[in-house]
């Protein structure tokens, strides 16, 4: 290497306070002119040690903490965690609860994709879609507030069911939402999908091939943007998803535009799932009455038994063993690996988050591209740093 080449190489620090890193992400870029030669992701600014915390909390106590992983899709996090613990316990969930769970999870998926769509357009330079998507997201948050009282950290799905039954007002809101939302979504679609500036900024940018996408561990919409027909709801079915009709969109191009189209189509599929759920939802229990986690939740009018004290101090005793459960979240596969030694607290919990893997696959995708494109690639992978650092 001669000295001329050496002087041409520039190191640029992107983040941690960069608006398009969607949190506190930091990337050290090595540039050769305008070409990116290397990217080194640096994370840990939001590290809270959730896995260590889990070892010191009962399964019930850890529920609200799970909300803080991917804080724009808390419902889906809750659901994934509950399904993992239920798999360990081998617990059944009433059918009504299953339907409620799917409804809230798909609403959460739409909300998460709307945030992604707005912020991605914002990053690339289109300001208008941001307002439209956040307007629609707000209606979803109003619905969640109606059923659980919180707008962002829901703590709604419970081990064995859901915390409270849905209200008639919620069903009205949901029906109204399903009637109006597809029309509103078409506005955003009309603003972006065929727009020539949008296409220039996204087509053939940040390409990752079929094999590389699998090998680098991409999941969710980012994997499907590379032509992999893979959805955990179809390939490793859980809950009542097998009884619902929906398609898995995938596009073989592997660029930012393909990932954009996948997410846009996923919103439509979620609406389709929601319509079926509204039709099919049965009456009945919303919580498994045999769930040991219900006991302290109910109001024992007859007074407090010694059993309740023991439950509070020790937590619910779990079977010995280890399980892994991965659920399809808006960002990708969120999995919980729980090792139980039979006590009320997990012996070890590993949280497999999609964003963590995506951040470290970024160098593979952007190497050799232009420095201006890294922003659109970052937003197309859609990572949230609460999930990366855990």
């Amino acid at each position: 290497m001669n000295s001329v080449e050496e002087t041409r190489r520039v190191e640029i620090n992107m983040g941690p306070q960069h608006p398009s890193t969607h949190g506190v992400g930091r990337f050290i870029l090595t540039l050769n002119g305008e070409i990116i030669e290397d990217v080194k992701p640096v994370c840990g600014y939001l590290h809270r040690g959730l896995e260590k915390l889990a070892e010191n909390m009962t399964y019930q106590q850890f529920m609200p903490i799970v909300d803080r992983l991917d804080y724009v899709a808390s419902m889906n996090n809750d659901l994934a965690y509950c399904l993992a613990v239920e798999k360990l316990l081998g617990m059944e969930v009433p059918e009504r609860a299953e339907y409620i769970r799917v409804i809230v999870a798909e609403l959460g998926r739409i909300a998460s994709h709307l945030i992604w769509l707005g912020t991605m357009a914002l990053d690339i330079g289109a300001l208008t879609p941001f307002f439209y998507t956040f307007r629609d997201r707000e209606t979803i948050y109003d619905m969640f507030e109606e059923i659980c009282g919180a707008r962002l950290m829901y703590n709604y799905v419970r081990i064995g069911g859901v915390a409270k039954d849905i209200t008639p007002k919620f069903m009205e809101m949901l029906k109204h939402f399903l009637d109006t939302f597809p029309r509103l979504m078409k506005e955003t679609d009309g603003l972006l999908t065929k727009n020539r500036i949008w296409m220039r900024r996204t087509k053939d940018v940040g390409v990752i091939s079929y094999d590389d996408a699998i090998n680098w561990g991409l999941s969710g919409p980012s994997l499907r943007g590379s032509g992999v027909n893979w959805d955990l709801r179809k390939n490793r079915p859980y809950g009542i998803y097998p009884s619902l009709e929906f398609d898995v969109p995938y596009f073989p191009e592997g660029d930012v535009y393909a990932r954009y189209l996948v997410r846009l189509e996923e919103i439509n599929q979620s609406v389709r799932i929601l319509r079926q759920c509204v039709e099919k939802i049965p009456a009945g229990e919303y919580m498994n009455p045999e769930s040991p986690f219900v006991r302290p939740m109910k109001k024992p009018k007859e007074g407090i038994a010694l059993k309740d004290f023991v439950l509070q101090i020790r937590g619910v005793k779990m079977p010995v063993g280890e399980i892994y459960f991965g659920a399809e979240n808006p960002k990708g596969e969120l999995g919980f690996y729980i090792v139980s030694d039979g006590a009320g607290k997990p012996y070890r919990m590993k949280i497999r988050t999609p964003s963590f893997v995506h951040v470290f696959a970024l160098p593979k995708i952007v190497k050799g591209g232009l420095v201006a494109d890294i922003v659109s690639v970052i937003s197309s992978l859609d990572f949230v740093f609460g999930e990366v650092d855990r």
Binding site: K40, G44, E322, Y324, R352, D389
Partner: protein
Amino acid sequence: MKNDEIVGLLKGNFGEAFRGSEELSGDLTVKVDLDRLHEVLQFLRSHPSLEFDYLPFMTAIDYSVYPKPKTKEMETKLKEAKAKEEKIKENEEKLKEAKEEEAEKLKEEIARLKEEVVKAKEESEKLKKEAEREERKKRFDIVYQLRSTKHPYDIRVKAEVGEEDIVESATDIWNSAGCDECEIYDMFGIKFKNHPDLRRILMPEDWVGHPYRKDYPLKGRKEDDEYLDTHLPEGQLKRPEHTRMP
């Protein structure tokens, strides 16, 4: 191919390096020797009827404070079961001589006792299985969760790792292992060879200790807390004792 067939395939190919398998709720876990771990992983990746081409995650577990098998509890459970069996016999003898009203009561009691005996026996068997498990010689377990996107299989591969051991990196098989290996190095202090960029990714580079080890205190080190307490800005309250995690 079913889970036991995959186990059979591994047993046939690796013989003594294969250390056993477990299954819970459909999750298959196999244990192998650390020396041949990389070979096993490569075999699972490249075998045409398995093709585990996706690595959801890998992690490590610190087993240093894992509870020891409860042999005493097992013995007491077995004794209880025996005592109850004897009571059943007694009741049955009584039943022959008893009148109608008493007979029904006794029948109910016998049915209840029989259920209890079955339960106690099941529990003692579970405990027995635990007790029969080999005693651990090494501190950590390294865990690889594998998945095939072409076939409907999942498998978990585990190997025991000591504090001094160096594990061969799996980045040449799955690139996604890179970040997880960094995390394990950061949080548990297990070293990897042939890794392209092994560094601390979550903690600062000059951090002392490995936080996810079981002997690392949850509150953090005392020095850090004392430093924070003495350097608070004016008018700020110290963190109350009860709000510090237990």
